[in-house]
């Protein structure tokens, strides 16, 4: 049993507000031999400075930077320690301070979190957050071996050197406990890969059917091939500012609130606890769930849920004044490294109650256009194409997600995804059936960055500030 003391539940109180004003990214590919890592980072940096309609010219904006936070998941992949120093120098940011941040799959989110604290504290008025991963230096199976070192070496890794194998038992347990059909997971894969078709940045867009997913090869039972993200190469960046500077740089800044949580790497070792309640939840509302868990030898968070995600959401909703997530949020980017991690997360961040996660999909609320009702979905998920369809160059992922939410809130989905020149820049042709995935009048979005089997998670609320 874990029991958090009231002091542990102190809601973060920043000294000053933090704003996101610009983002940049590369496209993402399984292999990217055309460019070295630093050259990819420069691509994202240039886009950040040049293509966000900032009121200062790119080099003037660069001249405002005080601090850099870099996200890179694994030195193994790059076969290079201290990439941060190489990238920092290559971007021409010497002698400014920089730190490298590593929290597995949540590395990008943690880099955003640390970058935000540099601004919130007054350490910096303008912080560059940039992340990358280069997973094409090794064969895919060697890459899987490397990634699996993010499981516990003593008690888990030797059971399987494939990360899907750590999510597969969670999927099994979740579906038994909450009676979920395989088709619900498959629908998530179909949706996110289809949304990726409209993104010039995407690595594996695809127009699949639920049957395509279910007929695919099993990677680790019950997870099929199309339910798993791929090795990825690319970089993404974000520029965080103080309030005063944000409004000097842009008329459309976005307020950023971000918090984190963490939990043991070993899923089977998670001690049970009472559910920390989000503002819209009550103990009575979960009486049925505790009864159900008692009947089914269950516990919270168990194999079904992510305590770290719940902790991060608990904090960030209180920071941002979110009282009813499904009503207050206009879009969400989840960490859909596997369909099951996407599905499990809906309960953790309160888009549904725990135990009812599948309803977020079956209701159609997770779509831009709800196919069940023909109306707009309540909180479209992963319009970027997510990790399944667009990218998971790990250190970049949490930053890329925030960038996509930023552009949605600024009403710039079409600018960044619909311009044929953007597609051509990456050697692609804009599809003839391209559709805008711009959310109408979006005011607030949520971006969830997630590591391991929930070892580190950040939740970021981005809010239109004009």
């Amino acid at each position: 049993m874990i029991a958090l003391a009231p002091g542990n539940l102190r809601v973060p109180k920043w000294t000053r507000p933090v704003y996101l004003v610009a983002a940049g990214t590369t496209d993402f590919r399984k292999r990217y031999p055309e460019k070295r890592l630093e050259e990819l980072c420069m691509m994202a940096f240039r886009m950040l400075l040049e293509e966000n309609d900032l009121k200062r010219d790119p080099l003037e904006t660069k001249g405002l930077i005080n601090f850099a936070c870099y996200g890179e998941f694994a030195d193994h992949f790059q076969d290079q320690l201290l990439c941060e120093a190489k990238v920092h120098d290559y971007l021409g940011l010497d002698l400014l301070p920089n730190v490298g941040i590593k929290t597995g799959g949540a590395t990008g989110g943690s880099a955003m979190l640390m970058g935000a604290t540099t601004v919130a504290s007054g350490m910096s008025d303008c912080t560059l957050v940039l992340g990358w991963e280069r997973m094409d230096e090794v064969r895919t199976w060697t890459g899987n071996y490397y990634i699996a070192t993010a499981a516990c070496k003593d008690f888990e890794t030797r059971l399987a050197r494939n990360y899907a194998s750590y999510y597969a038992p969670m999927a099994r347990r979740f579906q038994e406990m909450y009676r979920v059909d395989d088709r619900v997971r498959a629908e998530i894969a179909v949706k996110n890969r289809r949304y990726a078709c409209f993104s010039p940045f995407s690595q594996q867009p695809g127009r699949h059917t639920i049957e395509d997913v279910l007929n695919g090869e099993i990677v680790s039972d019950p997870l099929r091939f199309l339910e798993c993200c791929a090795m990825s190469v690319g970089a993404a960046g974000a520029l965080l500012c103080s309030e005063d500077l944000a409004y000097r740089l842009t008329d459309t800044p976005v307020r950023l609130y971000i918090a984190g949580g963490s939990h043991t790497l070993r899923t089977g070792d998670r001690r049970p606890m009472r559910i920390p309640l989000l503002p819209h939840e009550t103990e009575e509302g979960y009486a049925w769930l505790y009864d159900e868990m008692a009947k089914q030898d269950g516990r919270w968070p168990g194999f079904e849920s992510f305590g770290a995600t719940r902790f991060a959401a608990y904090m960030v909703y209180r920071m941002a004044g979110i009282n009813a997530p499904i009503e207050d949020l206009d879009l969400v980017e989840t960490h859909d490294a596997f369909t099951i991690s996407d599905l499990q997360t809906y309960g953790d961040v309160g888009l549904t109650l725990y135990g009812r996660e599948q309803e977020f999909v079956t209701s159609g609320d997770c779509y831009l256009h709800n196919p069940r009702t023909g109306k707009p979905g309540k909180c479209p998920a992963n319009l970027s194409g997510g990790l399944l369809g667009t990218m998971h160059a790990v250190g970049a992922t949490g930053i890329f997600q925030c960038g996509e939410v930023l552009w949605q809130l600024q009403g710039k989905y079409d600018t960044f995804h619909g311009d044929p020149k953007v597609w051509e820049q990456y050697g692609k042709t804009k599809p003839a059936d391209w559709q805008s995935l711009q959310v109408k009048d979006a005011r607030r979005g949520l971006a969830i960055s997630h590591a391991g089997v929930g070892s580190h998670v950040t939740c970021a609320v981005l809010e239109k500030a004009w």
């Binding site: 292999r31 990217y32 031999p33 070295r36 080099l59 076969d79 021409g92 094409d136 064969r139 060697t142």
Partner: protein
């Protein structure tokens, strides 16, 4: 480095994808080989193999540091760190009038052209070492 040590070095293996050279770094045997791309710096390494030493410089008049007449970068950079202009369109510098040539490689060795991720066949290939 003495001649004896050079002779004892195993020839490097590279693969070519498009314009890029990819160096094989067999850290832990075949399964643990890192296939490291030289990306936009490939012309530099190709130059070495052809007996030429290359450098880059910034020629962007808008650059606040180089003002269009930058100092040599050696090792070279594909992008100027001061104005971010990409190397594409930037001529590599010449000492003797030839736009690419600033020096000559004093020793050349052979490298193998090898299978990338195990997918192509091997042939002999010229490679330079300074």
């Amino acid at each position: 480095m003495t001649d004896g040590n050079v002779a004892a070095m195993e020839p490097s293996t590279i693969s070519i994808v498009g314009d890029a050279w990819i160096l094989h770094v067999p850290r832990f045997g075949e399964e643990g080989t890192h296939y490291h791309t030289y990306g936009l710096l490939t012309p530099y390494f190709k130059g070495l193999a052809e007996g030429r030493l290359l450098a880059t410089r910034c020629i962007s008049p808008a650059c606040p540091i180089s003002k269009g007449n930058g100092q040599l970068w050696l090792p070279p950079r594909a992008d100027c760190p001061d104005c971010h202009k990409p190397a594409k369109g930037l001529p590599l510098i010449s000492r003797w009038g030839c736009p690419w040539l600033v020096g000559s490689v004093f020793r050349a060795r052979f490298a193998r052209l090898g299978p990338l991720y195990g997918f192509t066949t091997s042939t002999k290939f010229a490679f330079g070492a300074v």
